[in-house]
């Protein structure tokens, strides 16, 4: 059953990703991108990483997709005109990024010995790992986010009278 789910999800994710790349209207492409994010989240869930899947939906569908859509709205509208069928520069960048990621994944030693593990990882385990082994990066991220939040607040505070 996992194989069936895996193949269905693969088709769904790849199809929506291809649509995101190829559809002429930007908004359609953005919506398809959101769908492919959901597909990726489903992959995480299938692999037993429920937490990562949920965070994927929360961050990518809830925030990144909305951000993309807003950016499209606030920038100049072209209505699909002037968008050429193939952007060769984009293709080159995409291939380069893909190769780089593939190389990084293949060079990661901890992934080589990985076996199919059906035991799902609980949120508690992630929390314990984060606070026990990665305290320093966690605190740094916290400080960064707090600084960003206070900065945003200060920007809002200066209200024109």
């Amino acid at each position: 059953m996992n194989i069936a789910a895996f193949s269905l999800l693969t088709i769904f994710t790849l199809a929506t990703a291809a649509a995101a790349a190829l559809l002429p209207r930007l908004i359609h492409a953005a919506l398809c991108l959101a769908l492919s994010f959901i597909g990726v989240a489903a992959f995480y869930a299938l692999l037993g990483a429920e937490f990562v899947g949920l965070v994927q939906i929360l961050v990518y569908v809830g925030a990144v997709a909305v951000l993309i859509v807003f950016t499209i709205l606030l920038t100049h509208r072209e209505d699909g005109k002037g968008v050429s069928a193939m952007n060769w520069g984009g293709v080159a960048v995409a291939i380069a990024v893909f190769d780089g990621l593939l190389w990084a994944i293949l060079k990661t030693p901890s992934l080589m010995g990985a076996t199919a593990n059906s035991e799902p990882i609980t949120v508690k385990q992630i929390g314990i790992t984060l606070t026990a082994g990665y305290m320093w990066p966690l605190q740094c991220t916290g400080i960064l986010l707090t600084a960003a939040f206070i900065g945003a607040l200060i920007l809002v505070m200066e209200e024109k009278r």
Binding site: M1, I27, H28, L31, A34, E50, F51, L54, V55, I57, L58, V61, G62, A63, A65, V66, V69, F70, L73, P120, T122, V123, K124, F149, A152, L153, V156, M157, E159
Partner: protein, 399 residues
């Protein structure tokens, strides 16, 4: 002392599945699992569609009471069959799609709106052992699914190809994104104290009683009360209810993102709004009001799910009450309220909850966290000048 009625619904389901498994032995196990899930989903849909029908007529009745009118009283006894009439009306109405609309996205938007609301309802524990879908990160699932609603609002606003729709959608997304942060942050202290993201564990953590009468709900602690108010306010915004219903402010932008929708599609939007309201209220009950726990140990003879729906009805009544009494806020006020007051307060509540926990969860912690929250509230009032807004107004040209 668990009453037999309490588990009757669960037992009936298990008996049915066991009966099915024994009579149809060739049925594989996953089929039974699927059927079990389908029964749960069917139950959620049946209960909340009935509640939707009821609340739509109750809302009109209560609003009418508040405005000194009768409200619907022609269809059926006390106007109770009004939802049936409304449903038939919606079904036989013409479905108008604007000529220049993006047909597919226009068609999909109501569905994309309703689906997250129904999914969010599935992780809430409605009674002892009565969580339709029990997942480890249930609270996170709720927020993740809820955040998908913004895209649906955008789809509706954009696909309609109408200025009012687009403006309404922009407003809706702006306020939903802003208030999602306080909403999630207000849930953090509860998750911290209960030590789990699972709604079932959070409800269990509130299941103890002091002297068999005083419940240990989180709303009865200072940080819990503060976060409950924040959560409820943010919930009002997320479900686009008055006083935060600028996205569909009919005096300015017709009906916001729903302007170009008619017939049953409009009904679906309406339904999604109410389902969102049920989901947020249900989560508020789960996080702060003890979920399905009875308010006193000697009241446990009443089934747990009756307690859940009693608390849910109280919150829904407050939603309607607020709609009947408060005027609509201005969009810039709404936004600055989120960033200047709600979010900092939500952040303060996290250390307040930690203080309460490390001071032994007793009176000392109670006092300390109350002091911290009061100090933060007073400080914010001073810094942001929110207090000035409530000062008596002076009129220059009118008296």
């Amino acid at each position: 002392m668990m009453p037999p009625v309490d588990q009757s619904l669960v037992l009936v389901k298990h008996a049915f599945l066991a009966c099915l498994a024994s009579h149809v032995p060739w049925l594989p196990a996953w089929c039974i699992d699927c059927l079990s899930g389908l029964i749960n989903i069917g139950a959620v849909l049946a209960v909340f569609l009935t509640l939707f029908a009821l609340i739509s007529v109750m809302e009109r009745k209560i609003l009418a009471r508040i405005q000194n009118r009768y409200g619907p009283n022609r269809v059926g006894p006390f106007g109770l069959l009004q939802p049936v009439a409304d449903g038939i009306k919606m079904l036989i109405k013409e479905d108008v799609v604007p000529r220049n609309a993006d047909k597919l996205v226009h068609y999909l938007a109501p569905l994309a709106m309703l689906t997250p609301a129904i999914l969010a309802l599935c992780v809430i524990p409605y009674g002892r052992g009565m969580t339709p879908v029990s997942i480890d990160g249930g609270i996170l699932f709720f927020f993740a699914i809820g955040s998908a609603t913004e895209l649906a609002v955008f789809m509706a606003g954009w696909a309609s190809n109408n200025k009012y729709s687009m403006l309404g959608a922009m407003r809706a997304i702006a306020q939903m994104v802003s208030y999602e942060l306080p909403l999630v942050m207000a849930a953090v202290p509860v998750v911290m104290i209960a030590g789990s993201l699972s709604p079932d564990v959070i409800v269990e953590a509130q299941g103890k009683y002091l002297f068999h009468t005083v419940p240990q709900w989180f709303v009865l602690t200072p940080w819990g009360a503060a976060t409950f108010l924040l959560f409820f306010t943010a919930g009002l915004v997320e479900s686009n209810r008055t006083p935060f219903d600028m996205p569909e402010g009919e005096s300015e932008i017709v009906a916001g993102h729903m302007t170009e929708y008619s017939g049953f599609k409009y009904a679906l939007f309406f339904m999604a709004e109410y389902f969102g309201m049920f989901a947020v209220s249900g989560l508020a009950v789960t996080l702060f009001l003890g979920g399905w726990n009875a308010p006193a140990a000697w009241l446990q003879f009443i089934p747990s799910w009756i307690w859940f729906f009693a608390k849910l009805s109280v919150l829904l009544f407050v939603f309607i009450w607020i709609r009947g009494t408060l005027p609509r806020m201005r969009i810039d006020h709404v936004m600055s309220f989120a960033w200047k007051f709600m979010l900092p307060m939500a952040f303060v509540c996290i250390p307040a909850a930690a203080l309460w926990h490390y001071a032994g969860r007793g009176p000392a912690g109670w006092l300390l966290s109350l002091l911290l929250i009061a100090a933060a509230g007073a400080g914010l009032r001073k810094i942001t000048g929110i207090g000035e807004k409530f000062a008596p107004r002076t009129y220059r040209f009118a008296e």
